[in-house]
Amino acid sequence: MLDVIIVWLAAISTLGIYSILYKENPVFRFFEHLFIGLGLGWTIFTIWKDILHPKWWTPMVEQGKWYWIFALVIGALYYFIYSPRFSWMARLVISTLMGLSAGLVFKSFAAIYIPQIEASFRAVRFTPSIATGLNNLLSTIILISVLVYFLFTISHDKQPIAGISKLGRWFIMLGLGAMFGSTVMARLSLFIDRLTFLLHDWLRIIKL
């Protein structure tokens, strides 16, 4: 019986959210607010269950690692942003997070982009394979033109930069178009999943 109620609630919620496709209406508004409330409740629960309880509360209270109390103190410094006199304390936390963020970007730069530079070293030779040669030539042209497009401190009004930059923009658009197509297909599969739920699990008018 509980399963049936859950399926009905899920189906009504799905249709309620989809009702925005017609226009903004009280049904959508109700489910929108319900969704936001449930989302927040769920987040608070998972933060406690997956992070705070196992990584902070348990070590501090059950394993005697009392010094974890300082995490609370440091975290609480963030609230001093509301005090004009003590807002410098909040900046300590913000600066730490910024430093962490910058460090991770620095690390990811080496991990992501350096191998790409290495991978761009491609031989533009048409033997033994013409296709590979053309592929490598195209790859090099795209690399140059797109990189030139992303130069911001040189003028793009004069040739040859203007032409190369324009070519780069075209290549970017082609790439984005291909990505758009493949991602739309992925999104359609999510929609099909919802339709399957409605037609199979709820209405039982299709069989899998």
């Binding site: 489910f31 987040t43 942003i81 963020s101 530079i117 990189l147 992303f150 991602t183």
Partner: protein, 255 residues
């Protein structure tokens, strides 16, 4: 790649050096040229549209938490709020990440002060909505319809909700300006928004708006780095094409 090699260390030092050098140069008084970015030339027009229609502006940071992406968008928000406040237009800022709320509120208030319209400042226009991705998206969509927003800014980290926001924003007839470093979401913004900041343009935006020597210098330094990498790639292509020892040297630069 977990650990650096001599080649990578040298390259990173050169790139960092170029950026630091350019920042110092800019701080010394050098004014670097910055090319036009279409999406930023229309910010004032987009704000003007909201003024003419007498409707609010919606500014979303997407899923951004405290980080570089957020701070870039925050600089742009400050500019937008300042311009909007001058003409008495509301800017609604629904937030995904609770930790960015106090900062956003501060900058929002400061922008009103800078515009000389502190009396227009309404703390309830900046609010935490949800940190569940799709609950946030449905909340923002609801806001667009109820508030009948005239202009939308989507700047920050976005994921699967990008198309939901941009498509619904398009359906309410708003002018939309978007930008995200997430290349996977860019196609949706390009398709559904009027102006989109593509890739690195997102990071150049704050330099374009603020003209702060430190940020402009940083952009110049990054450009030097890009040119260096372009040169390196071209030399690599030539080396691989010619073959022989030259190719072997290039193949082992980063090993």
């Amino acid at each position: 790649m977990e650990h650096s090699t001599p080649g990578i260390t040298a390259l990173e030092l050169i790139l960092t050096g170029a950026i630091l050098f350019s920042i110092l140069w800019a701080r010394g008084g050098k004014e670097f040229f910055l090319r036009k970015i279409a999406a930023f030339d229309v910010i004032d027009d987009a704000v003007g549209r909201a003024v003419e229609m007498g409707r609010p502006i919606l500014f979303s940071f997407g899923l951004s938490g405290l980080g570089i992406t957020f701070f870039q968008a925050l600089a742009i928000m400050s500019y937008v709020v300042r311009r909007a406040a001058q003409y008495g237009v509301r800017v609604i800022v629904p937030l995904f990440a609770p930790e960015v709320y106090p900062l956003t509120e501060e900058v929002y208030k400061e922008a009103h002060r800078a515009a000389g319209r502190l009396e227009e400042y309404n703390p309830s226009d900046v609010f935490f909505l949800s940190n569940d991705q799709f609950a946030y998206a449905s909340g923002v969509v609801g806001l667009m319809h109820r508030e009948k927003t005239a202009t939308h800014f989507f700047l920050g980290d976005f994921a699967a909700e990008s198309l939901i926001l941009a498509e619904e924003g398009h359906s309410v007839g708003a002018v939309q300006i978007a930008g995200t470093p997430s290349t996977l979401q860019l196609p949706f913004f390009v398709a559904a928004c009027d102006y989109t900041l593509i890739g690195e343009e997102y990071y150049a935006a704050s330099a374009y708006i603020s003209r702060e020597p430190i940020i402009v210098g940083s952009i110049k330094g990054q450009d030097i780095g890009k040119m260096l990498m372009l040169l390196l790639s071209l030399c690599g292509v030539i080396a691989m094409t010619v073959g022989g020892n030259f190719a072997t040297i290039f193949q082992h630069i980063f090993k």
